[in-house]
């Protein structure tokens, strides 16, 4: 493959991965925006989402669509339960204890998943043809394109929801000031529940797409580690910032895998985004599009 084509291949491949990263990162950001809570278990949620979809496909014998719907219902249920049983009783506690709880829940989910899903398939069989599509001389895997397209559509729907609907407006109000939100008649608990319902759906979609695009769900909980540099680079509470950062990290990883990993013996691609993260924070402490808490009084 000539140099230019190799570069283009790496960029496209990275961008496709970036679209899925963006989905996982959005599951993180919606929670952070609504409640300032850092969900360290976002990778585990994605893993359970994908394994639920894989299991549903096997047990129910439905196609991928049926498995996805079933998994979404199950994960919404799980997320609502988590919000009601774990988070709500802790809502008067410090943010730090909530954050520690998400770490604990993450470990619990990993352990529980090996028991609950024992003997069930991990893989979600790709419904797309295995032969790569050749676009402008570049081979691109069909399932990766499809995964990226679905991720992009989901992101577009989510942005419309936040900026074009009444409920989205209310959610953004909760995100910017809970006192004011209550004062205009918004029920905080109902909207926290809604946020977690979204997390349930996003974990199924992101988990399934990742599983399909990467040819198996292996190491999916490590997605969490990829998401932290993304959300911090994006500015934590900015949806567009997060999406941009997801593509930056996806492409960066791909380029590092292609050019640097062969030189250093592999593995540097996993660290590269953290190097960029540190460098960026030195210049822009609030990330690409994050805003410092400054206002006119």
């Amino acid at each position: 493959m000539p140099d230019g084509a190799f570069f283009a291949f790496l960029v496209v491949d990275g961008a496709l991965a970036g679209a899925i990263y963006a989905l996982v990162a959005l599951a993180f950001v919606v929670v952070y925006k609504a409640s300032r809570m850092i969900n360290f278990a976002v990778g585990e949620w994605t893993m359970v989402g994908s394994r639920t979809a894989a299991a549903a496909g096997q047990v129910l014998g439905t196609g991928l669509a049926g498995a996805l719907v079933t998994a979404c219902v199950a994960m919404i249920g799980l997320a609502l339960l988590f919000n009601r049983v774990v988070l709500r009783p802790l809502s008067q506690r410090s943010l730090l204890s909530l954050i520690m709880v998400t770490i604990g829940v993450g470990i619990f989910m990993r352990g529980a998943a090996t028991v609950v899903f024992a003997g069930l398939p991990v893989r979600i069989v790709s419904p797309f043809p295995a032969d790569p599509l050749v676009v402008g001389g570049l081979p691109v895997a069909v399932d990766k394109i499809a995964a990226a397209a679905i991720a992009a559509a989901t992101i577009a729907a989510l942005s419309w929801f936040f900026h074009g609907s009444r409920t989205g407006l209310a959610l953004r109000a909760v995100a910017s000031d809970q006192q004011v939100a209550m004062a205009v008649g918004i029920d905080l608990h109902r909207h926290f529940a809604l946020t977690w319902g979204l997390v349930g759906v996003l974990s199924v979609l992101a988990g399934t797409l990742w599983s399909v695009a990467s040819g198996g769900g292996f190491g999916i909980e490590l997605l969490g580690l990829k998401v932290f540099p993304i959300v911090i680079l994006g500015g934590l509470d900015s949806l567009p910032g997060t999406i941009i950062a997801a593509f930056v990290v996806g492409i960066l990883e791909s380029l590092v895998t292609g050019y640097l990993d062969p030189l250093v013996g592999g593995g540097f691609s996993h660290v590269a985004s953290y190097v960029v993260l540190i460098a960026t924070l030195l210049v822009r402490p609030y990330g690409f599009l994050g805003r410092p808490d400054v206002e006119r009084v």
């Binding site: 009444r166 407006l169 109000a173 910017s176 000031d177 004011v180 209550m182 205009v184 805003r291 206002e295």
Partner: protein
């Protein structure tokens, strides 16, 4: 007044007590607001005026006493439930969402009014009331001047079509011209049928536009009556109107 079913008062507060830790901010306040017109609440700094409004809107919990709105007990209800009864509190400092646009802030105000079909008409009315907000509708609320923010706060409250509008120090920190503008708008709202409970340090202007008034001192009502009578009362003149 439709929907009142013979209740003489819109809001009736009886023997309300509120404490912040060991500090007793309200010590048995009783007060009524009729279904229309302006009731003023005046008093020195720390007299408990803001605390009273916060207790009515559910932001602080009353230790004892009752707040009855259209015959329904409000003490113990969560803040959002009280707002949905269209009892709207515009706090001191205005409670703007600084990072959202003027239009978004106004739309949020409309969430408390259940009937969403009228939202467009309400928006039109808010812009008619405050034309400056229309020019700045796409601007972030945090970038408005103090006077514009106060107008946005009142405009947002009006989007809920309030049965009772509680304003906490609407003139605070505003230039004299804007203070006069605010005091031109408040009677206009009242004239259109919104009951107003007005907390003000600017006692003279408050008493001039109100029908009835209460004077609060260290958490108690020490004086009440028709606003015109209080305006003329020597003890009010001495303590709050700066007369010798």
């Amino acid at each position: 007044m439709g929907g009142l079913e013979g209740t003489p008062h819109l809001l009736e507060i009886r023997d309300l007590h509120v404490s912040y830790g060991r500090i007793r901010a309200l010590q048995g306040v009783s007060l009524t607001v009729p279904p229309a017109g302006i009731v003023a609440l005046i008093g020195a700094n720390g007299a408990g005026k803001s605390t009273l409004l916060r207790a009515i809107s559910g932001v602080v919990r009353a230790r004892q006493g009752s707040v009855s709105f259209l015959g329904e007990e409000l003490v113990g209800l969560p803040v959002h439930q009280i707002a949905r009864r269209r009892l709207i509190h515009v706090p001191e400092g205005r409670g703007m969402l600084a990072r959202m646009t003027v239009l978004e802030n106004l739309r949020l105000g409309g969430l408390a009014a259940r009937d969403r079909r009228d939202a467009a008409a309400d928006l039109k009315r808010a812009f008619a009331l405050f034309p400056a907000l229309h020019t700045r509708r796409s601007q972030l609320a945090g970038s408005l001047s103090g006077g514009e923010q106060q107008m946005l706060a009142i405009g947002r409250a009006m989007m809920a079509r309030p049965r009772l509008l509680m304003l906490d120090e609407p003139s605070l920190g505003l230039a004299p011209l804007l203070v006069r503008e605010i005091f031109r708008i408040i009677p206009q709202l009242a004239g259109e049928g919104t009951a107003v409970l007005l907390v003000e340090q600017n006692a003279r202007m408050a008493l001039q536009c109100a029908a009835h008034a209460y004077v609060l001192q260290t958490g108690r009502v020490v004086l009440s009556g028709p606003a015109a009578d209080l305006l003329a009362a020597p003890e009010v003149q001495r303590a709050y109107l700066g007369a010798g």
